[in-house]
């Protein structure tokens, strides 16, 4: 690039200004302001924005509804990744190393590319559509409820429930919906990792007479473990969301008795339903701290694992 020293800085400036400007105005500045807003009482409509220090944070401590939301977020954070990664590994290994034809140690299952196309599709679906469809999966029988109707059709009618009407089921419904949406993505991700494992390793395992389960535990899993770990971090960040699912399936109050609430919905509700913008921002800061903690924690654990492997 030495030949083009002439006019270099005006060029750099011209190219950086639009992206940096938009990013700073609409994304960075809100994050900075959020911290200050969280220290004020502000209805948003009036100009009066009173500085109240940490009162909003004290209020959060005593807010039972917020505790529910936090508990649900933690459930999503733990259960959804475990379920998703387990199912993802299970189906990916079936697709890629599940087939065993004579003369070949491992082959993909027939039609595995079609399976991948089908499995991946929920990932590209708008969360809003997933949420609406699953609102009907769990609806009462007379309002379309697919699950209840299926249960009745196979003679398990006594298992039917008013799923969305029962507080104790709500967070688990969200777990199911999120897992449904995410599994296919991890099947494709792990498939790519499994494809890159050299075939002769499997042949050696087969000659040693190892069973499928042993092969999976001793060969496949260790070799895709890096990908699983990365997937885990990504999954954990995504599980902090869940906004569209809860907002559409359960409503802005988090469903019956608010039992299905999550932090994202709590923030939205505090701001745009209750016009308590200071409090909404404070919950946002809590969410940020939680996300940061998770990321740092995972990075720590991951780094330690890497050292052990090396």
């Amino acid at each position: 690039m030495t030949a083009l020293r002439h006019g270099k800085y005006p060029f750099i400036l011209a190219f950086l200004l639009p992206p940096v400007g938009i990013y700073a105005l609409y994304m960075l500045s809100p994050y900075v302001q959020a911290i200050y807003i969280s220290l004020t009482r502000w209805s948003g409509l009036s100009a009066t924005q009173t500085f109240i220090g940490f009162d909003n944070y004290v209020e959060m401590w005593n807010d039972d509804q917020l505790r529910t939301a936090l508990r649900n977020n933690l459930i999503l954070l733990v259960v959804v990744p475990v379920l998703t990664l387990f199912l993802g590994l299970f189906f990916a290994s079936m697709l890629n190393v599940g087939g065993r034809r004579s003369g070949q140690a491992v082959t993909g299952v027939r039609g595995s590319s079609v399976y991948k196309v089908v499995y991946f599709f929920p990932q590209v679906l708008p969360h809003a559509i997933t949420a609406i469809v699953f609102a009907y999966v769990f609806a009462p029988s007379n309002a379309g409820g697919i699950l209840n109707n299926l249960l009745e059709a196979v003679g398990l009618g006594r298992l039917t429930q008013l799923w969305i009407g029962e507080p104790k089921y709500l967070v688990w419904i969200i777990v199911v919906v999120m897992t449904w949406g995410f599994v296919g993505f991890y099947v494709v991700l792990f498939s790519a990792a499994m494809q890159s494992i050299p075939r002769d390793i499997y042949e050696a395992a087969l000659l040693d007479g190892s069973s499928r389960i042993t092969t999976f535990r001793k060969v496949t899993l260790p070799l895709v473990w890096d990908t699983v770990q990365v997937g885990w971090v990504y999954m954990a960040i995504q599980a902090m969301d869940g906004f569209a699912f809860v907002h559409i399936m359960l409503g802005v109050n988090g469903g019956v008795q608010g039992a299905g609430d999550v932090l994202g919905v709590a923030i939205y509700r505090a701001a745009f339903a209750e016009y308590d913008f200071g409090y909404a921002a404070a919950i946002g800061v809590l969410l940020l701290l939680l996300t940061m903690t998770i990321v740092v924690l995972f990075m720590r654990v991951l780094r330690r694992e890497r050292v052990e492997l090396a």
Binding site: P18, P19, Y26, V118, Y119, V124, P126, A244, Y268, F272
Partner: protein, 311 residues
């Protein structure tokens, strides 16, 4: 390789029953496991497709059919559902809104993202690393923290003299710019890595031919980065088209809603209006663009989305 095994046996390896030495997992037990595998795979395929298929079938039914026979097949195709969804339920307006916003946001994201990434990847200047890390740091920030102040930032842009009329709340341009801002971290991150991999020799040849900085970018580097740009454009298209919470905050005016948001509102009101089939027709309308893009670019979409995790 595979031949070492095949040759130690009889050439009749197509008929596994004749094997005297059984390989684990190829005998009858192996067949059973194979069937079980297939069963599991099929089971998940059904779990994935059935709810969507049910929604599509429901969009063809009449409301009477939907209520009396929710799990059966429709007796015919009730096209008026789609007409009601498009007109009465306002899905047509929402669809157009989505198209306007996403075409603006996608163009600007790719243009500005590529410009920023190119400069960060290929020019040395003081502060380069800092700008890069400020962009990439945004990957870790949760959207929800920004929600409240972003609302006020957007509202206040409406008061800017001259251009304020184009911005502010309920403005296509505002929403598009917000999408651009929130797409910048990943776009810059991904494209910077991509521009770094492009060979220097071509750029140098361009300089020899007397290209300016601008023409070097637009005529040589940008076309060379096409594969990266395409997979990222698909990624961003899906992200923007599917976005739910940002428009919920910015597009509060009923006529300005985008598709995902409008569907959410429609779903909330459907119980009262008892027009289920129009909701599912609207859902199918919203589903089609995503389905088409996915089927056309299925390999790039999978590669683009999974690359986001691996990099």
């Amino acid at each position: 390789m595979t031949t070492t095994q095949a040759e130690t046996r009889e050439p009749s390896s197509e008929a596994p029953r004749n094997h005297r030495v059984r390989e684990p997992g190829v005998g009858i037990g192996g067949k059973a496991i194979g069937l079980l595998n297939g069963g599991f795979l099929l089971f998940w395929a059904l779990i994935t497709t059935l709810p969507l298929l049910w929604a599509i079938l429901s969009s063809f039914k009449t409301n009477g059919e939907f209520r009396t026979n929710p799990t059966g097949l429709p007796s015919g195709i009730e096209w008026t559902n789609f007409a009601r969804a498009w007109n009465a339920a306002n899905i047509g307006q929402y669809f157009i809104n989505s198209v306007i916003v996403v075409s603006m946001s996608l163009t600007l994201t790719m243009l500005f993202g590529a410009m920023g990434a190119y400069v960060l990847a290929r020019y040395d200047f003081p502060g380069n690393r800092l700008v890069y890390f400020i962009f990439v740091g945004g990957l870790m920030l949760p959207v929800f923290l920004a929600l409240v102040p972003m609302f006020f930032v957007v509202r206040n842009t409406g008061n800017i003299p001259l251009i304020g009329g184009l911005l502010g709340l309920n403005s296509y341009l505002s929403l598009a710019l917000v999408y651009v801002a929130f797409s910048m971290p990943f776009t810059v991150f991904f494209l910077t890595a991509f521009f770094r991999t492009l060979p220097n020799s071509v750029a140098e040849a361009g300089i020899m031919d007397g290209c300016s900085h601008f023409s070097l970018f637009f005529r040589i580097m940008l076309p060379m980065a096409k594969p990266g740009i395409i997979s990222l454009a698909l990624f961003n298209f899906l992200g923007h088209w599917n976005q739910y919470v940002l428009p919920l905050v910015i597009m509060q005016d009923g006529d300005k809603r985008v598709l995902a948001q409008g569907l959410g509102t429609l779903a909330a009101n459907t119980g009262f209006r008892a027009d289920y089939t129009a909701l599912f027709a609207g859902l199918v309308i919203a589903l089609l663009p995503v389905l088409i893009v996915y089927l056309l670019f299925q390999r790039q979409v999978q590669a683009g989305l999974t690359a986001g995790v691996l990099k």
